[in-house]
């Protein structure tokens, strides 16, 4: 795929993602064996990722992703993203900030690396800055570092 094709593919993906219909978005754009990793979870398999996206967004908010900068490679992209969250109800434990019904917040604290295989997303790794996030939420459930001790 050339850069224009990759750009077009991801424009379509983010448009589908932002509808909130994750089953449609992921069935359109992810491989069946896709792997999703973010600051909180690692999920393997498209169906499991759909389930996780759907459950995590069922807490009463909508999320809109907007690419801020994008670096296109031969088999994927690295992209810095702005997130907009709109609370449909009170969300006291939202991972960015406590939200009240009707409230909208914007952050620019995540970046993602997407790898493609046969024109589908085969892996996603979502990184974050820390200042943009709710430390109470991120501090909980975060366990010992996954590291190796070299010899």
């Amino acid at each position: 795929m050339n850069r224009d094709e990759i750009r077009t593919l991801f424009d379509a993906y983010f448009e589908d993602y932002n509808t909130g219909d994750y089953e449609m978005a992921l069935n359109n754009h992810y491989t069946e064996d896709a792997v999703f990793e973010n600051t909180r979870v690692e999920v393997r398999g498209r169906d499991n990722i759909i389930e996780w996206f759907t459950k995590s967004h069922a807490l009463g908010y909508k999320e809109i992703l907007t690419p801020v900068s994008m670096v296109i490679g031969e088999d994927g992209i690295a992209v810095e993203l702005a997130q907009q969250f709109h609370a449909l109800e009170d969300v006291p434990n939202h991972y960015v900030s406590t939200l009240q019904k009707g409230e909208s917040i914007k952050t620019q604290g995540v970046a993602a690396v997407y790898r493609l295989r046969e024109r589908k997303i085969a892996s996603v790794r979502v990184y974050c800055t820390l200042s943009a996030y709710n430390p109470r939420v991120f501090g909980e459930g975060v366990t010992a570092p996954i590291t190796e001790n070299g010899d």
Partner: protein, 137 residues
Amino acid sequence: MDTKALERYFNLYSEGRFDEAITEHYREDAHFWNTRIELTGRQKIIDWLCASHNGYTEKLIPLSIFFDTDGAAVELQQEFHAVTDLSSFYIRPLKTGEVLKTRGVCQFFRFQEGRIASVKEYVLLYKCDPSVFMAGT
């Protein structure tokens, strides 16, 4: 900037030659933002890197590089080697001689006039000690 220049930058950085790495590759007014600090100005970045690498060496190994005309994104493996005991090291405490490897960092570079104009670092939090990162937030 090209991939060779970026690789040279990481090599110099990994050898602890921060002055050369930054002077050769960064703009004078470069912006540097990682999980612990935000700095503007090449000399301030050099000073901070020299001061912060007290008691350990850090080797950066690019695992994947995305390269464009005006920017790059690099997923990195970090290898920290403790030269002395580091009880408050920002990932976790280290003993003298201990080596710690992590794969939880991605850096975004923007280029202007052939040099690095900005660096922004993102992390996979669960690979790090959150209590350290949260201290300044």
